[in-house]
């Protein structure tokens, strides 16, 4: 009986062995480290709904930036289920720029980083007007035929409803395509 007990205890101990003994664990851990590595100076946009991560990149035109931009999406999040994080090294976003992402990520948190510390938190505010951010969903809108910037008025914030300044088409969140 005593031997059997000892065997059971040994098996149990093996089961609850700390994972650090696993040679693969370090690799996983270092990947995690990489995802959340700190930046010395720049902007961190967190709590982006996962499906809006790349829209945020498009809206802020981060593909045109020379510095390091880290994009992570489908991360586990308690509040959003899955979320995205975008880190922009060397660029401090302004309130006006931050507001542009309100249409796809109204609850995102934006941290301005200096010397590896959060220097400022900017709240995303839905603007009254969106200048040249969105493409009009009407194929017969003049903005899709002439070289002119688009302009949309925010008619309702929740649920989002915007109106094209030119063709007056109303668009909901699902119709939004970034220009």
């Amino acid at each position: 009986m005593a031997r059997k007990k000892q065997k059971k205890v040994r098996k149990l101990k093996e089961k609850i062995k700390p994972k650090k003994a696993d040679p693969n664990f370090h690799r996983e851990d270092s990947k995690k480290e990489l995802k959340i590595s700190a930046i010395e100076e720049g902007t961190v946009i967190d709590h982006i709904p996962a499906d809006a991560t790349f829209k945020v990149v498009e809206i802020l035109k981060l593909n045109e930036i020379k510095g390091v931009v880290s994009i992570a999406t489908n991360l586990q999040s308690k509040s959003l289920g899955k979320k995205g994080i975008v880190k922009v090294a060397g660029k401090i976003l302004t309130q006006e720029e931050v507001n542009k992402i309100a249409i796809v990520a109204p609850d995102a948190t934006v941290n301005i980083i200096k010397n590896y510390n959060v220097k400022e938190k900017i709240k995303v505010k839905t603007p009254e007007m969106l200048d040249n951010v969105i493409k009009c969903s009407s194929p017969v809108c003049i903005t899709n035929h002439e070289q002119i910037p688009t302009k949309f008025y925010v008619v309702k914030k929740e649920p989002l409803l915007i109106k094209c300044h030119y063709c007056e088409r109303m668009m909901a969140k699902d119709d939004i395509e970034i220009r």
């Binding site: 017969v140 003049i142 035929h145 002439e146 063709c167």
Partner: protein, 305 residues
């Protein structure tokens, strides 16, 4: 109220007071049909797509007020064919005229033209979007035939999905406490965003596909053509053409003073026999384009205050 140099682009840009003011000026002008108040002024009619009533009534209005007209009635004869942008076409034509009237198939084109031009621009229809002078003449007609705009029961029948005249008129009449009846097959019903806007303004409305259901309630029935050119799919058009027909039989169950309006052209939605009844108001409606367009030309050119 000063309308001098103002662009007339969308009925949504007008307040209730401004709408009533334009109608008042139109009444004054109608009582004195000929004058030379626009002598020496030139109107450029920039019609990038075909139009009969709008172009002819703007032309006639300008001439009756002593003004002159230049322009074109098809994009085929312009530099657009050579690839010139609308912006450049407007920048060029504004050098030759005191006022521009534009009709263009693309939505939002009139707003863009107004931004490009330093002279006032009147929208004569931008695709399926806005046609403010039509809305104003519709309101003018209702005011004339019913003696008022307030508290009327107004039915709209036909293509309520694509029909810009219906959308604009419903929004403009929302200032006057109406009750609306939207009569159309489900697929061609009034778009949700307009219904939401009416709901927010606390306007009563009913939706039905049955033309006779509310016939006894109506003061005005605004009939529209099922517009073939607005359907992305021709098969969809075939399904709906001829779905409603206003004839003498229908008129047996309406109020004696119920009036029928139609922005024209009609196809088969109003039987010709209706023309001679006291209910027909659509030709008078077309004629009202003259005083309303005269009023707008005179107002924006600063010749009437």
């Amino acid at each position: 109220m000063d309308f001098k140099n103002r662009d007339i682009i969308s009925i949504n840009d007008f307040s209730k007071e401004e709408l009533l003011y334009v109608l008042k000026v139109a009444r004054q002008i109608e009582s004195k049909p000929r004058s030379n108040i626009l002598k020496g002024k030139i109107m450029a009619a920039l019609f990038f797509e075909p139009s009969t009533r709008t172009r002819l009534s703007f032309t006639s209005s300008m001439e009756q007020l002593g003004g002159e007209i230049i322009g074109f009635s098809s994009a085929n004869v312009t530099s657009i064919q050579k690839g010139e942008s609308l912006w450049d076409t407007i920048k060029m034509t504004e050098q030759y005229a005191d006022i521009l009237v534009i009709r263009h198939p693309l939505e939002g084109s009139a707003r863009l033209a107004a931004e490009a031009a330093n002279v006032p621009v009147i929208n004569g229809g931008d695709g399926a979007n806005q046609h403010p002078t039509q809305t104003l003449l519709d309101m003018y007609t209702i005011q004339k035939i019913k003696g008022k705009l307030d508290n009327l029961h107004i039915g709209f029948v036909g293509d309520l999905k694509y029909g810009r005249t219906v959308h604009s008129l419903a929004m403009a009449l929302a200032h006057f406490n109406p009750t609306f009846y939207f009569i159309a097959p489900d697929e061609l019903q009034m778009p949700e965003n307009y219904l939401d806007a009416l709901f927010e303004k606390k306007i009563r409305y009913h939706k039905t596909s049955d033309l006779s259901r509310f016939s006894k309630e109506l003061d005005v029935l605004y009939v529209t053509r099922i517009q073939k050119e607005r359907f992305p799919d021709p098969l969809e058009y075939e399904k709906f053409k001829g779905v409603y027909r206003i004839d003498e039989q229908f008129l047996q169950n309406v109020k004696k003073d119920m009036k029928i309006m139609h922005p024209l052209p009609r196809v088969d939605e109003i039987d010709k026999e209706v023309d001679k009844t006291q209910h027909a108001a659509y030709f008078e409606q077309a004629a009202n384009g003259i005083p309303v367009r005269k009023a707008l030309l005179a107002l924006v050119l600063g010749k009437v205050k």
